[in-house]
Amino acid sequence: MTEHFFNFKLLVKFQRYAWRGLFLMLTSAMVLAMVGNPFAERLAWLGVLLALVATVAKVVILAEQFRRSRLYRHWLLAYTLLIILASIVLIRLLFS
């Protein structure tokens, strides 16, 4: 891999923000649930949404870093992964 061009720090930073954000949201949801606040479930729902959106963003970041590194085959594969994951979700939703 042409590591010179691949911005690992961006991916590390993104993942750090993602897990810390998730941790903060779900810990807050847990505390709110303990005190009986009805907003707890809404916050947990937003937490799941954040996890899914962050996963999509992670694939996009990976793909774009591959493009920057001129690893075009991997760039295409990363977007193919995203399309296949989205297709699985759609197929299961529509035909289950």
Binding site: M1, F6, F8, L11, V12, Q15, R16, A18, W19, L22, F23, L26, T27, A29, M30, A33, M34, A40, E41, A44, W45, G47, V48, L49, A51, L52, A54, T55, K58, V59, L62, Q65, F66, L71, H74, L77, A78, T80, L81, I84, L85, I88, V89, R92, L93, S96
Partner: protein
């Protein structure tokens, strides 16, 4: 939720996250039974919570490995793609292949990898690993497809098979195999998690304590994993493989007996 229940779910999450982070596996095979036994919830309710927790903890676990350069990102994309395709094939094949046969096949693979890890060659030089990796790249892809299919047949993530097989066959060091696997499982779990999420099947009152515990456990596990000696990781993997084999095949063998 009463505080006692909350503590139980947090502890379940910590236990599964620790094992998952340390071995580079999802932890679902540990978390689901733990929640069912100690949390008193059904497997159908536990699986969506477990998958969501795996997606969340994968961010924390793989980041520690990524920082130490223990994730092969090129391999991650290819393996994730092929494993997901294998998973789809496996889930369709599950209607045709008897589940007992699949369970025994998975047990055989788990026991084989355990024995190979214990008696196999020790650490190899970087140049040797590079050469093996280059030679076996296509084989690695086929292997990922097979692991994905097998995992899809049983309904597990597949990290338990991916880590040792990448290390034994793929010419990847055990530490890189763990890091790569912890990243891959995040992608495959996300698709299943999205389906449950859109169908409103995730229990949102259990989820926060489980994810809280799982992230704490995964972070601790991955920090320990980047420092742990290979023999410790191998021993832990063998213990986990024996446990999983027993869970998978005991009732099949008992029925035959």
């Amino acid at each position: 939720m009463i505080p006692n229940e909350l503590v139980v779910f947090v502890l379940c999450g910590i236990g599964a996250g620790l094992i998952g982070g340390l071995l580079g596996v999802g932890g679902g095979v540990v978390l689901v039974p733990l929640m069912a036994v100690f949390g008193g919830i059904g497997v159908r309710e536990a699986v969506p919570v477990s998958l969501t927790a795996i997606v969340a903890s994968s961010f924390a676990a793989s980041n520690s490995y990524l920082k130490k350069g223990m994730v092969d990102l090129e391999l991650t994309v290819i393996i994730a793609l092929v494993m997901v395709m294998g998973n789809i094939t496996g889930s369709y094949l599950s209607a045709v292949v008897p589940s007992d046969v699949t369970r025994l096949a998975l047990t055989a693979v788990l026991l084989f990898t355990s024995v190979q890890l214990l008696v196999g060659k020790g650490s190899r030089s970087v140049s040797t690993l590079e050469r093996i990796r280059h030679d076996r790249y296509p084989f690695c892809v086929v292997l990922a497809l097979f692991i994905g299919a097998l995992a899809g047949l049983i309904g597990i993530g597949g990290g338990e098979l991916l880590t040792p097989l990448l290390s034994l066959v793929g010419g990847v060091s055990l530490s890189t195999a763990r890091g790569t696997s912890s990243m891959v499982i995040g992608f495959s779990a996300a698709a299943a998690c999205a389906v449950y999420f859109l169908n409103d099947q995730i229990n949102l009152s259990i989820l926060p304590p489980v994810v809280f515990g799982m992230i704490v456990g995964a972070k601790l596990g991955s920090i320990l994993g980047t420092r742990a000696r290979p023999w410790m990781v191998k021993s832990l993997y063998v213990a986990a493989a024996i446990y999983l084999s027993q869970q998978l095949s005991w009732h099949v063998i008992e029925a035959w007996w």
